[in-house]
Structure formats: structure tokens, C-alpha cells
Point group: C2
Chain length 405, copies 2
């Protein structure tokens, strides 16, 4: 008997989360064992409220194609953590709803917390001897999932950071007076995205001259010394810092100034280490300083999407759908980098239980010993992920045209 | 006798200030009366320190072409105000240096303050019976120069704002909970750039639902009422505000926050009006709120350059060089919109003395009577200025390649 597939999106959006959705949906329609393809609206949270859609019309009229160049999360997202107690009644509700829709395949696109959802549902499924197969499709600009070379979403965010920081270095160097420009980049626990700012540095230029990741303890006095030293050779200094930089006592630099709260997952909410360092440099060195927070455009900019990331996100989605049909459950579609001169990846399956609630950090030997720059090994790693510009379809108003639910 | 032309850039950079430079330089090389083309490095300030370059090599090797897609200010910029006293010794110095270089034509690319420089130099020139001709080439993302339909630089910044705010509206709508996203846009005295955010609104959508310009007094209570009202129809609200919004007593909204006290360094809190309004909405309405400051990327992003703006900036530069040769001095190359269905502009000459130190604001009848939206007349005005995406040349590293001094 043919079964249906349902797919959902969860957590923060990326430039290519809809590419993965496109991959899952088109992959599913190519499978003979799959009849209907549903989307959960607003993830598992919306699904519990009965919010869903059928992709049939979009598949037939070709509008599905537009998902590949639409930022945000087409299906809508949620931040909903399933209970730790696997006998909770909410699981009865979910499984009843899935069975009612004749769902045999469940794909969930998201980061760490979403893999936690896939892990729990697959464990509940196993306990219930359900034949529904639960698959995870990775998505995060943070690139912090373990057991995969990288995650879809990271390449585009890294390209955004690289292009934008390069433009900022040109903006920063127009006056001949000394100045420091501090760029604050997303990344709480892992510095992957901040690290990608090194791509902005041109062969014959120094900026961004200093790059600080949360993987290394941040020391205020050492930082000021490094700024002073770097300004001797580069009067218009551009410095990139991760929002999550912290001191040796694990106290966040942004906490030096502002209070923090917790979000619904118990994460610390961060803002403002750039602003703090701006004031610190002004106070200690007395030169012109400004800080720039790159903010949400890092994750929602379709305009600077990486073609490599776009293609790989589609691939991961299609692989997840195909793997579910082939019998996998409780697995995530991961990337394995192939040996050889030329960059290529292969999709592989990895156990979600070994992925969720873990964080992959930038290896310490990819950071220079002064803690303020990246080693060549990182450049080799990141370069292929940001390659290729994507042309966005333009609408009647002359601006990029996206697809809406 | 053939004379030389010198060109400089002044004030903040834009995406197309180098296009105007390209226009001046290539226009000059096409003139038989012009022998050499020089660039002042860091404007009139750098010129006084003897900093200049010769464009000959770039003209011969074709690298001049890259100016058309390079952001920032290729020649470097300055913020240098010439003395009001036109008998000041600095003018002797400038004219001596110009005569030494056999300069007959002087072009200065910039905004209000730069037109002030052109005005003063042309008046000093007239008093000295100098035959050097001084021309202004407009440049500002603020679009606040009088006697011209618009200014080069505005179209690209407006396209950046429109594209980015559209992407933000997609990012803002992924969760189904109520939320307010406040986007703070550059523009202290004139709201042209903030107004361009209306272009982000799609035909079948409401966001950005509220837009506030400095042309209209901002009232906190009215604002909260408008947010509440708008949220009834659009639960994920996107609001755009100009950094220069102020109350009926002309007090800036960003100064409301300064009153909260001094930071740990004893400085006034310099966060913008967006941050203040974020806290206000959270306090009064209790819903999820965030604020985004678009910051310098508005003016330095080559990636979202408008093709129309690029072309017009070149045209303005070439027209200024040609007009100088034809005998004009103390004039600015301005744009006059032609009558007719199809958009077209014509370059015309306008007296810099009537331009400098004036500010052109958004006409009040282009703002809706509630003060929170733009009228269709503004849409008709702004739409042609942002048309066309520009392909940036890509370097070996896969990122946009710019030209450096």
C-alpha cells in the first residue's frame, strides 16, 4: 500500500531551508511508494493544531521551482520542544494524526533541536512498533551539527558574511584617519560563521585583520594590545567578533554590559558584544570606532545565496526522502567530503541520537595561536562551500520575486 | 593650450560614487582639450597634503572599467570644510597647487558639503579671474540635494533597503506567534531612504505595514496605537523607521533613550531609535519585538546596486567633465525627469550656490495623512530609480573582485 510523506521546517530560517524542502518534496513525488506529499505548517507545533497543506497543486503548476530561490521558511517554523517523557499524551496525539493522514514517511528540516524531535519521534515509533519512518534534514547557518562535514545554510550565510565584510572593508578605508570597525557576527557556541569572514580578506590586503571566535577565551587586555599592534600596519582596522565570545571564566563579553534572558529552549539571549568593544576601544585608544551588527540578514539573504549551498540543500532533502522509502528511520542526511583534489560531497546517513544536543566547534588547530585569525586549513575547508552566485527571479516590480504559502 | 582635469571624492561613500568617477575620467579622456587626468587622494584635504594620482595607466590597461562595480570611494574621501573667509591662505595654497599641475578643470563628487566646496572655489576663482572651471557631481544615498530630480547613490541604497526589507519580512513571518520587527534606516533630516522601504511591500502583502519618516512629527502614543491596529490584520508586523524621527518639539526619538543614563564608560548610550522603540513596544504591548539597524551596508553594498543608478552616475560624471570643457563653472550636473510615460532623465546644469547647505525633504503630500505610509505618487517617483540588478565581476576566490588604489 502506498503511503504519504509529510515534511516540516523548524527553528530559525536560512537562505536555503526552502531548497531542502524542494528536495524532499520533489524527491518524494519521484518515489512510487509515495502517494501524497503534505507539509506541516509551523512545524510539529502547527501540525498538532491541524495546520497542514498538500503540495499537489504546486507540483503540477511548477511553482515548486520558486522554493529554490525563496528565503525564510515557506511552511512556517516553530520552536517547540517535545517532552522528555516519551509516554506523554502528546505523542499519542502526533501518532494518531500521522496515521489518520496515512503518513509513512516523516521528514523534519532543522538544526540541533529539530534533530531532537526526530530522535524522540523515532524512539516513540520504535516503542510503538510503528512503521512510520522519521528522517532529519540538517539546516543551520551555525554549522554546528556533528557527524556531517557541514550543514546546508552555512555556505550561504558564510557567503553573505564574506561579501558583506569585504564591502565593509572598502567602506572603512575611505578616510585617511585611524579607525576601528567592529563587525559582530552570529554564532553562540561555535565560531564557524565568524570564521568565514576571513574569506573577505583579499590576497594583497590585511582586513579583516583580527577575527575572534567563541572557541578561544577572549581577554580584554590582549585584545586591546592586538588592536594597537594591528593598527601600526593597517590604520583602518576591521575586526570581526562572534556574538558568543567569552572570557576565561566563561562570562560572555556582551554580559559585561547588558543583562541576558533565556529563550524557550533555555539558551542565553545575546546582544551587543560589538557595542561593548566599540566603547572599550574608544575609551582605551581614543580613536574613531564604530560597530556593526550583521543581524538577521545573515540568515535570510537570498541575494547572496551560495550556488553550492543551494545545490547541496536540495540534494540533502531528496536523499532524506529516498532514504525513508528505502527503510531508514531515526537518521539524518549528512555530508561526507570525498578524498581528492576536487571538492565533492556524498550524502550519508547518520544516527540522529548521536547528533542532537551536541555542538561541533571550530577545531582549535584551525585557529592561529594568538587566537585572532584562522589557519589555512580552515580556508581550504570553507572555500568550496561559498562558491557561485545565484540569480534570483525578478518580479514585475523589478525586485526579487519569492513564493508564498 | 591643453589643460589637465583633476577629480576628487568627498563625504560618505555610496555604491556608485566610483561610477561617477568613471564617468568623469572617461569623459575627460574623450575631450581633446584635456591632456592629463588626475585624482585627488582623500579629497581636497589630501590634495592639500600633495596626495594625488594619474589615471593614465588605468585608462590604458582597462582597469578603469572595474570602477563601475567597486563600492567605497576609490580615491579616498575626506570631511573637510573650506573656510568661509574666501581670503584665507588655504585658497592661495589650493590655487597654487592647481596651477602648478596645469589644471583647467576641477570636478568634485559629493553631497551637500562638497557642493559647498565647489561653490567656494568657484567664487574664489572668479575673484582671482582664474580660468579654472569648478564642477560638482552629485552623490548621496540621502537624496536630499535640491534642484535635481534625484541623486546618484540613492537608487542603489533604495534597492538595498527594498530587497533587504523584503527578505526581512520573509524572515519575520516564519513563526505564528505575534511579533514586531523594527527596521532602522539611515536618513537624519530627509526620509527618502526610509520611504524606499515601501518598495519591499508585495502586491498581496501588507509588510512593511508602517513607515515613519522625519518629515512628520513622531508621537509615541499614536505609534503604539498604530502598531496595535496593524497587528490585528498582520500578526508579524514589520515597521520601518528613519534614524532621524523626532517628536513635535524636534527632540530625536533616539535621544529618549540617552536619558536612561550613562554606560560603564561614562558615555551617553548611543543606541538608535530602533532599539528605543523595541523596548517601548515590549513594555507597552508585551509581544515579541526585535530591532534591526541596517547600518553602513546601505551605502556600501555593491551586491544590490541598481543598474539604473549605475548608468546615471556614470552619465552625471561624464556630463560634468564635458560641461567644464564647454565653459561652465560653479555648476552641478543635475537630473531633470522628462515628460512622458516612459522614465527618462536629462542632465542639466544647476548653480551650486543654490544647492549647497539646503536639504530637500520628501514632499508632505507623498506621505499618507496618518504619517505612517507613502502615497502612490512616491512609488511612481522611486520605482524607476531602483531597476535592474548588476552582475559583479567574480575573482579567483569566488567572491566579487573590486579595484584598489
Amino acid at each position: 500500500m502506498r503511503k504519504n510523506l509529510i515534511v516540516g521546517q523548524s527553528g530559525g530560517p536560512t537562505a536555503v531551508i526552502n531548497c531542502s524542502l524542494y528536495g524532499v518534496v520533489t524527491g518524494a513525488y519521484r518515489e512510487e511508494q509515495i502517494e501524497k506529499v503534505y507539509g506541516m505548517v509551523n512545524g510539529i507545533d502547527g501540525f498538532l493544531k491541524g495546520k497542514k497543506l498538500d503540495f499537489q497543486t504546486m507540483w503540477e503548476d511548477g511553482s515548486l521551482e520558486k522554493l529554490r530561490t525563496t528565503p525564510g521558511a515557506f511552511l512556517g517554523s516553530c520552536r517547540y520542544k517535545l517532552p522528555e517523557d516519551l509516554t506523554d499524551a502528546v505523542y499519542d496525539d502526533i501518532f494518531a494524526k500521522l496515521e489518520e493522514l496515512n503518513v509513512g514517511y516523516f521528514c523534519y528540516i532543522g538544526g540541533n533541536d529539530s534533530m531532537d524531535t526526530v530522535s524522540k519521534l523515532s524512539r516513540v515509533g520504535a516503542a510503538r512498533k510503528s512503521d512510520i519512518r522519521f528522517m532529519g534534514v540538517p539546516k543551520t547557518i551555525d554549522n554546528d551539527l556533528v557527524l556531517t562535514d557541514h550543514t546546508p545554510g552555512y555556505g550561504s550565510a558564510a557567503r553573505y558574511v564574506a561579501e558583506t565584510v569585504r564591502e565593509i572593508t572598502y567602506d572603512a578605508s575611505v578616510y585617511d584617519s585611524k579607525s576601528v570597525t567592529i563587525v559582530e557576527i552570529m554564532g553562540r557556541d561555535a565560531g564557524w560563521l565568524t570564521a568565514s569572514s576571513v574569506l573577505a580578506r583579499e590576497a594583497d590586503r590585511r582586513n579583516p585583520a583580527l577575527i575572534y571566535l567563541p572557541e578561544v577565551n577572549f581577554d580584554i587586555d590582549q585584545f586591546i594590545g592586538q588592536v594597537e599592534e594591528a593598527m601600526k600596519e593597517q590604520p583602518n582596522l576591521v575586526v570581526c567578533v562572534s556574538e558568543g565570545i567569552h572570557d576565561a571564566q566563561d562570562k560572555l563579553i556582551c554580559e559585561y554590559e547588558s543583562e541576558t534572558g533565556l529563550d524557550s529552549f533555555g539558551h542565553k539571549m545575546l546582544a551587543g558584544c560589538g557595542k561593548y568593544l566599540e566603547k572599550l576601544v574608544k575609551d582605551r585608544l581614543g580613536c574613531k570606532v564604530r560597530s556593526i551588527e550583521l543581524n538577521v540578514c545573515q540568515r535570510c539573504s537570498a541575494a547572496m545565496m551560495s550556488a553550492a549551498d543551494q545545490e547541496e540543500a536540495v540534494k540533502a532533502g531528496a536523499f532524506a526522502a529516498a532514504s525513508a522509502v528505502a527503510g531508514s528511520t531515526g537518521m539524518m542526511a549528512a555530508f561526507q567530503r570525498q578524498e581528492g583534489e576536487e571538492y565533492s560531497i556524498q550524502c550519508v546517513l547518520r544516527d540522529v541520537n548521536e547528533i542532537c544536543n551536541k555542538v561541533k566547534k571550530v577545531p582549535l588547530d584551525w585557529i592561529t595561536k594568538e587566537g585572532s585569525d584562522l589557519a589555512p586549513a580552515f580556508m581550504e575547508y570553507v572555500k568550496p562551500l561559498v562558491q557561485g552566485a545565484v540569480q534570483l527571479p525578478i518580479g514585475e516590480d523589478g525586485l526579487p520575486a519569492f513564493v508564498k504559502r
